[in-house]
Amino acid sequence: MNILEFTILVAMGSFVAGLLGSLTGLGGGVVLVPLLTIFFKVDIRYAIGASLVSVIATSSGAAAAYVKEGFSNIRIGMFLEIATTLGALCGAFLATVVSTRFLAVIFGLVLLYSAYLSRKPRTAEQRNLPPDALATRLRMNGSFPSEEGMRHYNVQRVPAGFSLMFGAGALSGLLGIGSGAVKVLAMDQAMKIPFKVSTTTSNFMIGVTAAASAGIYLNRGYIDPGLSMPVMLGVLAGSLLGVRILVKAETRVLRLVFSLVIVVLGAQMIYEGITGRI
């Protein structure tokens, strides 16, 4: 295969990954690395570098749309970014010392877990919680436009959310994914932030988190321009199109199919990691 053919195929695959990722809300990065390593036989370190770059592109593109709607909370985002960027640095350093087999197995486990999370029914939102002392001191409580007008919320359990965010950052730096699922888990489940605010603030944070590890990947020579070019352009185009058609599309079946694909890819990554083929 020559470079031109390789570039076109990778761009098409990335476009589909970006489209499905944004339609299902599960993110394109999560299937990119398995796609590149299993089907295109790319070394996992190059794949993670390229994926990280595409994560910055899609999250910044989407965040630009969300931030104007007034759902995201810039203070919660900024405070938690201390945890995610520190975690991202640790994850990126770890990625440079562990074996590629270990990376493949961890990646597979994360895929299986995110498929499980996407199928789990969401617990009902708790409203009108009392203000928490720490969250109040940090001025995190806010309000957002809902159907019933502006709705106020009080943020809970800041330390638990902060620790989970460190883990989300470390996974992002280690595997080159946005780990939006863990970020939403931290904000929505631990800190009891309304779902709409959690998802948009998480999207806002993904780009900053990925940038923290991307610098290290760049300095280590893990970001290859020839590979990153079709991946970044393909994922960006796919996710921008996905956002456009999202309003009209019926995503329930799509989500189910996509979670099954993620399970298969996760099992394959673990198998190839254990048998040493990655």
Binding site: N2, I3, G207, I216, G226
Partner: protein, 128 residues
Amino acid sequence: MTRVWTDRKIEDIVGNLLISGVLLSAFVVAVGGAIYLIRHGLAPAGYHVFRGEPSDLRSLPGIFHSALGLSGRGIIQLGLVLLIATPVARVAFAIWGFAEEHDRLYLTFTGIVLIILLYSLLGSGSAF
């Protein structure tokens, strides 16, 4: 009320900043990609073996030098640096916003995040 108004204004500017950064970097990457494909499109592709990038595609001075020499790979890499710089610019901008609001607590938090990002982009190469 002033604080809320400033927050919204900041959010609007941040939104525009993000989208411009992404579009600009995608454009630069596409230009570099076209040059790269025209020159090397028919060479065999090989990403199976990890070699690591040469030093002129790893460090900021090397990337600028390579892009100025109109190397396709150098221009793509410059576009990717612009992309990585977009969230960094967003954080730097938030510092300005919190300074306007005299919010010293969040000025500190944002400063910490900016230092971590700059360390990763500029300082992490020499450490090893």
